[in-house]
């Protein structure tokens, strides 16, 4: 074997690999067509094999030549219609094609490889195809498309054999062997011309699909890429332009012409952007390069597993950066295999479930919002969030309390947690999950993200979002310790600035960790200075200087010095640090002044790693910029916090932060900010329960100047809409919502408050009342907060407003949504059990004892019960209630009690009632602000009949009606 010219060999390798890539899919198509042979297609494969054979023979690659020859023989039979391409035959051909590829990739050693298993298999098919020929003695016209081998046909499809095998079977030709040989002779004759094709193909197919994914790992040479000549021309053109512009710039600099400099600057700007774009284009490749191998993967695997699966591929033409295409290969394969292996059920299972026995996997790529989305969806059995959560709890990845509060989607995404899916056990439970965290890590490295949607029994959809290119990414620039850092926009959730006055209120310290309350969730906070072990600093926007930060806690005040009178002369010295400290010391400790200083505001970058969110505290927030990623040197590989570096406009370098690794470094590891955050949430919840009678409110606005609140537990959901979404029909406002019409109201329709702001972007707060949905029109900003129950139910009370409270220094009116709906849609309540009055008949109305220490809540509950016609007795705490029971126990039919009360709490009261012979028949309904599971369990233990959330009028009244009815009946 002699390699005369490396270039020729290289050309042969590239060419052959290209042929082989095509062969795979073509063979699959041939298999699918079965007896209905597409000659054109078979010809194509035949010619590919033939070209490889020709090239290999030319270069003395005898093994490759032999294998290609054997394949070609079989293909020749198929082409001539003498052999029906059964799955078995195609399988052998595919295996041969794989082997060919391996040989060609390792071309220098190819002649030493033993390929006999392939050639034997191929030759036996080839000869087998003729075996019947020797058996039969009659020559016939070979033009008859004769299905020949009865053994083979029997194996494929029943109808094919039934139709054709018997009658035509004996008509086989004697000449066929001869003909084959002729045929081959013909082929070798024109093999020269085909070799010409081979050479010609190089320039002519430049727009084709280069085989980058074949870049074999064994020989790590530079991979090549094919670029259309027109694109190269364009690049040359642009380079020329750039040179011209440079000359102009140099000229302008020498002449000092400022105005011209501007023009030249613009020109260079334009040329560079165009150049950048064009160069990017050279790296772009269709994702079909990766997708094309999946028909084979799905076919082989489903065959092995005895499943029937159709694969649909959409969006092969979507282009992505070469590096991404290469890197996405493994994760995608993994996901597709997962879908085949675990997603799609066996045909029997599917039929039993009433699904089509043949499963469907859809592979789809499309552009969305500057990113490429790849979706792998199957109609298999889906993921069971509960099982995943259970498994995650068992593995100690999350606490059972965390699991309880998770949404179904969060539970499904647990599968992505590192450490989740290493054990086989989980696979048994979940059906999925081998190495999903590896997939996620791979995607993280690409700056992509992964999301799983799944419905048990219906299937799963895994969406992967990828940047178009890795080279240039948009980033948020932040500053800490006097250095700039870049945070990739994909990781960025939002930017949060907590004004100095609110730091103490919003930032809480639980254990040794700091958290910030963000729309009702606790967000773990890390100070970048801590993680990177650099000197903490802060930026003073007034002086525009960075100073060392000496606070220990975020919520601490800047200065811990003893208050003294301020030395007026110190002010002049504030430029030097020492002087500043001195001035700090002399400064009187005026809480307001220090706290309100803008330098005390916190700048938080809320980032998401996909599995969790957390906040990074930085000194300053700069702009968002498109940056070019440059790799860090070898010496910095061990520093985990960085994804690379970039060069800023001023020539200095900024490090790019790797938010996943930073979270790991800071000890935040898993979902929702890890166990630590879980502990925090737990602790915070405990603290909340301890602080009695807290009420979670959703605050919002309607007019710009008034703030409203509504109990959070009444809210179904909040939707953002445009004013144009509102339709006015029949004198009512409605919008389309989940396939129906959602009636809309605004507070000003009922209560005398300022009219709804005339804005384009509105919010709709959806409530579920009397079995129907209703939307309350509102405007932002919305926030979810917890307040203690100091509610003033006198001053601002009116129809639709149950009272007011002060939230964040703003008077907030509490909306009584029941009243509002009742006024606007009275008919809703007429036929709904919870709102009907009681039908007392001749009897006296049932009497309800309400025990509640908060006047506001007591009055609320009393209000709607009296309205329904009940007699009401009230007590401020358990002890008072007990006294009332002792005195007039026989008249009372039902007790509604709060849990948290002074003197005697609801548990004790219930216990006493239930243990007293006189009262143990009385139903007790407990009211609580937070229906914590432990509370509920404890309440049930002492005998609470039912639990309800305060201000959830509908449920409470329903059960009051139910209980009084049965109580009266008894």
């Amino acid at each position: 074997m002699s390699f005369e010219d490396d270039e020729i060999v290289q050309g042969f390798v590239e060419e052959s690999l290209e042929h082989l890539a095509g062969i795979e899919n073509d063979l699959l198509a041939i298999e699918e067509a079965g007896t209905d042979i597409d000659v054109e297609l078979v010809n194509k494969v035949f010619r590919a094999a033939h070209s490889i054979k020709g090239g290999a023979g030319f270069m003395g690659l005898s093994v490759i030549q032999d294998l290609a020859h054997a394949s070609e023989n079989v293909l020749g039979l198929i082409r001539a219609g003498k052999l029906v391409p059964t799955p078995e035959i195609i399988n052998v051909l595919l295996l041969a094609a794989d082997e060919l590829q391996r040989l060609i990739e390792n071309i220098s050693t190819s002649n030493t490889i033993d390929i006999s298993s392939h050639t034997i298999a191929l030759n036996s098919i080839f000869e087998g195809g003729e075996a019947p020929a020797s058996a039969s003695m009659r020559a016939t016209n070979t033009d008859i498309p004769a299905p020949d081998d009865p053994f083979e046909t029997a194996k494929i499809s029943v109808d094919a054999t039934a139709e054709s095998a018997n009658p035509v079977e004996p008509e086989i030709r004697v000449e066929s062997a001869v003909r084959e040989e002729e045929h081959l002779a013909e082929e070798s004759e024109d093999s020269y011309s085909e070799d010409d094709d081979l050479v010609n193909a190089l320039p002519s197919e430049t727009g084709g699909t280069p085989k980058t994914r074949r870049s074999s790992s064994s020989q790590k040479t530079d991979t090549t890429i094919r670029v259309t000549v027109s694109l190269l021309d364009q690049l040359m053109n642009l380079a020329g332009e750039l040179v011209l512009s440079r000359n102009q710039l140099l000229q302008t600099i020498t002449s000092g012409d400022v105005r011209n400099a501007e023009a030249v600057g613009q020109r260079i700007d334009l040329v560079t952007s165009e150049l950048q774009e064009a160069i990017m284009l050279t790296r772009m490749q269709p994702i079909g390069n990766v997708f094309n191998k999946f028909p084979r993967v799905v076919r082989d695997l489903s065959k092995k597993l005895g499943k029937q699966i159709d694969l649909t591929i959409v969006g092969k033409d979507v282009e992505l950066d070469k590096t991404i295409i290469e890197a996405i290969n493994d994760p995608l394969t993994h996901l597709v295999r997962n879908s085949v292996d675990h997603g799609i059920e066996s045909p029997q299972d599917r039929t039993r479930k009433g699904k089509d026995a043949c499963g469907l996997i859809v592979l789809k790529a499309y552009h969305a919002a500057g990113q490429v989305v790849i979706e792998i969806s199957d109609d298999g059995k889906g993921l069971d969030g509960d099982m995943l959560a259970e498994a995650a709890v068992k593995k100690g990845l999350i606490s059972s309390d965390q699991a309880k509060v998770m949404s179904e989607k969060e539970r499904i995404n647990l599968i992505l947690l590192p450490g989740f899916s290493t054990a086989k056990k989980v696979t048994d439970v979940s059906g999925r999950g081998v190495g999903m965290d590896v997939v996620k890590t791979n995607l993280d490295q690409l700056g992509g993200s992964i999301e799983i949607d799944s419905e048990v029994g219906k299937g799963s959809t895994i969406s992967i979002k990828l940047p178009l290119t890795l080279a240039i990414i948009p980033c948020q620039i932040v500053m800490t310790g006097g250095e700039r850092y870049a945070i990739p926009q994909v990781n960025l959730e939002e930017l949060l600035r907590i004004p100095a006055a609110k730091v103490k209120e919003r930032v809480e310290r639980v254990g040794d960790a700091e958290v910030v309350r963000l729309r009702g969730n606790l967000l773990p906070l890390i100070r970048m200075a801590d993680v990177f072990d650099i000197e903490p600093t802060y930026f003073d926007p007034v002086n525009e200087e960075t100073y060392p930060d000496r606070r220990r806690n975020i919520a601490d005040r800047r200065s811990k010095s003893t208050p003294l009178f301020r030395d007026p002369s110190a002010q002049e010295k504030t430029n030097s640090l020492e002087a500043r400290e001195e001035s700090d010391q002399k400064q009187p400790r005026k809480e307001q002044e220090r706290r309100q200083s803008p330098s005390s505001a916190l700048n938080i970058v809320v980032v998401s790693t996909g599995a969790m969110k957390y906040g990074i505290i930085v000194d300053r927030l700069h702009d968002s910029e498109e940056i070019v990623i440059k790799p860090l040197g070898r010496h910095l590989q061990q520093c985990q916090g960085y994804a690379g570096a970039t060069i800023m406009g001023d020539g200095r370098i900024a490090l790019i932060l790797d938010v996943s690794n930073i979270a790991r470094m800071a000890g935040l590891t898993s979902l929702d900010g890890s166990e630590r955050a879980g502990e925090l949430a737990e602790a915070a919840k405990e603290a909340l329960t301890k602080a009695r009678d807290k009420q979670a409110l959703l605050t919002f606005s309607s007019s710009p100047s008034e703030q409203f609140g509504v109990p959070l537990n009444q809210v179904e959901r909040v939707e953002k809409i445009k004013r144009t979404d509102i339709e006015e029909i029949g004198g009512r406002r409605v919008m389309q919502y989940r396939g129906g019409s959602l009636p809309l109201i605004s507070i000003d329709e009922v209560a005398s408050v300022l009219p709804l702001a005339d804005r384009d972007d509105l919010l709709v707060i959806v409530f579920h009342l009397a079995g129907k949905d209703i939307g309350l029109l509102a405007t932002g900003p919305i926030d979810a907060i917890e307040i203690s129950a100091e509610i003033d139910d006198v001053t601002l009370k009116q129809t639709g407003i149950m009272g007011s409270t002060i939230i964040a220094a703003k008077t907030t009116m509490l909306v009584n949504i029941f009243e509002i709906v009742k006024v606007s849609n009275p008919q809703w309540f007429e036929d709904h059990a919870a709102y009907s009055g009681i039908d007392t008949g001749d009897d006296i109305a049932p009497t309800i004892l309400i025990v509640e220490d908060s006047n506001f809540f007591r009055n609320q509950v009393k209000g709607y019960m009296e309205e329904a016609g009940f007699n009401i007795l009230e007590g401020e705490d358990g002890r008072v209630a007990w006294r009332i029971l002792e005195e007039q126990g026989e008249t009372i039919n039902l007790v509604v009690t709060d849990i948290e009360m002074p003197n005697m709490d609801g548990f004790e009261l219930t216990e006493r009632i239930k243990n007293d012979k006189r009262f143990h028949h009385l139903p007790v309904i407990a009211l609580t602000t937070l229906a914590g599971e432990e509370d509920i369990a404890r309440g049930k233990a002492v005998g609470v009949d039912e639990y309800h959330i305060k201000l959830d009028k509908e449920r409470l009244m329903e059960s009051v009606h139910r209980h009084t009815k049965s109580a009266v009946a008894a």
Binding site: D533, R634, Q637, G641, R652, I653
Partner: protein
């Protein structure tokens, strides 16, 4: 740069420089350039001997404090401090030295094995020493200097 080598076959050129008070040298062909760019970006969490990273015409160059790496203590920045940018496999690395000295023509045959310790620097960092009329030049083992501990 390559010309003199061809002309005088058996002579190598040593770029010499001071690290603290120690005179060191390395084959000049390993040096890409010498500059005095000191606008470095610090990298938190990097090893002590890493001064930071530098933008060298669009390439990120890691700068190593040679003094610290050789165990002589952190370098003091002065007007004479220079970065010697060397071609390492796959990247460029800068070595910050206290002062640049002459280019010395050396006969490879006269390079002697390095002593165990030279001016307080471990012998392991040197491939040998070269004696001139009045000076002793430690020839730096660049591979060893760039080795990651």
């Amino acid at each position: 740069m390559a010309e003199p080598k061809n002309l005088t076959k058996n002579i190598i050129e040593l770029a010499t420089f001071y690290v603290g008070n120690a005179l060191c040298g390395m084959d000049i062909l390993k040096v890409q350039e010498i500059n005095k760019l000191m606008e470095m970006t610090k990298v938190p969490q990097a090893p002590d001997y890493m001064l930071g990273i530098l933008n060298l015409r669009g390439q990120i160059v890691t700068i190593i404090d040679l003094g610290q790496k050789l165990g002589l203590g952190a370098a003091e920045l002065s007007g004479e401090s220079r970065n010697i940018i060397i071609n390492a496999p796959g990247e460029h690395v800068g070595l910050m030295v206290s002062k640049i000295s002459d280019v010395v023509m050396a006969d490879p045959g006269k390079i002697e094995p390095a002593p165990a310790n030279m001016n307080g620097i471990q012998g392991a960092f040197f491939t040998g020493v070269y004696k001139t009329e009045n000076k002793l030049i430690g020839i730096l083992d660049v591979k060893e200097v760039l080795r990651i501990d």
